[in-house]
């Protein structure tokens, strides 16, 4: 594997019922980098993201986190070091915001309750929700819930954060607050892989954009290159459609 990659994804393949969703995808991520996966729906972006932490087990390929291979037998430990933010938040509905952010610190990482509480409050502060610690998820707006789920992931002190279309389930007026938190994290040097249709985020925060289609990486490069001088016709066509409708 290449040196000093936090995350190294090599030749990942996945098929569902004979349909090849991922046809051998690889990319790497250095500390502090943000990579954004874009592409039409069905291109395999989310499947790829889920393969990284084995929520979807890949058929072939290897994933390394800090040089250590992700395997079935170490998966709980590996997942604890990879934060995952879901499209539909998946906050634990029976727990307060505070408990959502500290339960996995306590039950997975074995952190004591006081330390977990301090950490949770700090992360909630960081996403602008310090005053919502006592609320329950159902009492929050979608944007607030997604920010709590980001705080929940951050509280585990992950090596990398994986975002699976974090704004797609939100009303348009609520995407801004989530995107701002993600931009702030990218600026602070968080290592992130983001699947999104938010081109403003991709343009502003990505170190590299990876354009996927039909299970392949079609093109990858800096936002400047992809948005202004994409080499591939498919990339141009996709970005044009997004520009018109997004």
């Amino acid at each position: 594997m290449a040196d000093n990659l936090i995350l190294d994804v090599q030749d990942v393949k996945k098929a569902y019922d004979g349909l090849q969703v991922l046809k051998g995808i690889g990319f790497g991520l250095r500390k502090g980098e943000t990579k954004v996966l874009i592409g039409p729906s069905g291109s395999g972006k989310s499947t790829l993201l889920r393969c990284i932490n084995y929520l979807t087990v890949p058929d072939a390929g290897r994933i390394y986190l800090n040089g250590e291979e992700v395997l079935d037998k170490n998966i709980d430990n590996m997942r604890a070091r990879m934060g995952f933010v879901f499209q539909d938040f998946n906050l634990f509905t029976h727990l307060t915001v505070l408990d959502n952010v500290r339960i996995c610190q306590i039950k997975v990482s074995g952190v004591d309750k006081d330390t977990a509480t301090q950490r949770a409050l700090r992360e909630l502060e960081r996403v602008g929700l310090g005053d919502k610690a006592a609320a329950y998820p159902a009492e929050l707006s979608g944007g607030q819930q997604q920010r709590v789920s980001i705080a929940r992931a951050l509280a585990m002190d992950p090596d990398v954060l994986l975002f699976d279309e974090p704004t797609s389930a939100l009303d348009p007026e609520l995407t801004g607050e989530v995107v701002r938190v993600m931009q702030q994290l990218a600026a602070e040097g968080m290592t992130m892989v983001v699947v999104t249709h938010e081109m403003s985020f991709a343009r502003q925060a990505a170190d590299e954009i990876i354009f996927m289609e039909k299970g392949h990486i079609v093109e990858q490069g800096t936002p400047d290159i992809l948005f202004n001088s994409a080499a591939n016709e498919r990339t141009k066509a996709f970005l044009n459609v997004i520009a018109e409708h997004g």
Binding site: M78, R79, R81, H94, A135, Y136, E139
Partner: protein, 222 residues
């Protein structure tokens, strides 16, 4: 002595019968809870092997598909032929095993009503399956189960009266003793007994509903 004096005099017997009914109820619900929960967890999270799943399914179908009176007879006369079992023991066993079949399905649907994203999120945070079930899925499923479990509680209170047919001296049989000894007064005696069952039922229901309200999650629609 008119019937009211008799009822007053024999009321301790009715209370004793009620006590027997309550013990029977508690025991059968406990057996049903433990075995029912085990069946539910194996059905949902256990190995998918047919060797394991098929017998559980058969058990659940049989106990839900046969009248409890038949089960009581089978357990009492069937088992007592080979193994010395009291009528009370047979009733606990037959009714407990049947309740397990019902409770397993109450729990199963409660667990299944927890959205799959909850398990996924817990696993994605590094929780093992067992930790996720214990800390994330179970507390939510338990809240969903209290309502239907209250129904099971209510029907089982009423079903305890059937233990009468194999000779368990519970409330209904005590009532019958009074009726036999006073030659008549069926309506009055059974009205008192009905009231006793009803009060027990309502008390239990109120406690369970209070428990449900206490556990309700703010902002979360039922």
């Amino acid at each position: 002595m008119d019937i009211y004096d008799v009822l007053l005099r024999d009321f301790p017997f009715l209370l004793k019968g009620l006590g027997v009914a309550i013990v029977l109820l508690a025991a059968l619900l406990l057996i049903g809870f433990v075995i029912g929960m085990a069946i539910c967890l194996i059905q949902l999270y256990g190995p998918k092997s047919r060797l394991l799943q098929w017998p559980l399914k058969l058990y659940e179908r049989v106990f839900r598909g046969v009248p409890i009176i038949i089960m009581l007879f089978i357990f009492f006369y069937g088992i007592s032929g080979v193994f010395d079992i009291s009528a009370f023991g047979a009733a606990i066993l037959a009714m407990g095993l049947r309740s397990a079949a019902y409770q397993s399905q109450i729990f199963r649907s409660a667990f299944q009503s927890v959205p799959s994203g909850q398990m996924m999120a817990a696993r994605a945070m590094g929780m093992s399956k067992i930790k996720a079930i214990r800390h994330i899925i179970f507390p939510q499923a338990a809240r969903h189960a209290i309502g239907p479990w209250t129904n099971e509680f209510s029907s089982e209170i009423k079903e305890t009266s059937l233990a009468y047919v194999i000779g368990v001296v519970e409330l209904t049989r005590q009532a019958h003793y009074i009726i036999t000894s006073t030659q008549g007064n069926v309506l009055t005696v059974f009205a008192v007994v009905a009231l006793m069952y009803f009060v027990l039922n309502r008390t239990g229901n109120s406690l369970l509903y209070a428990f449900e309200r206490k556990l309700a999650v703010p902002g979360f629609e039922k």
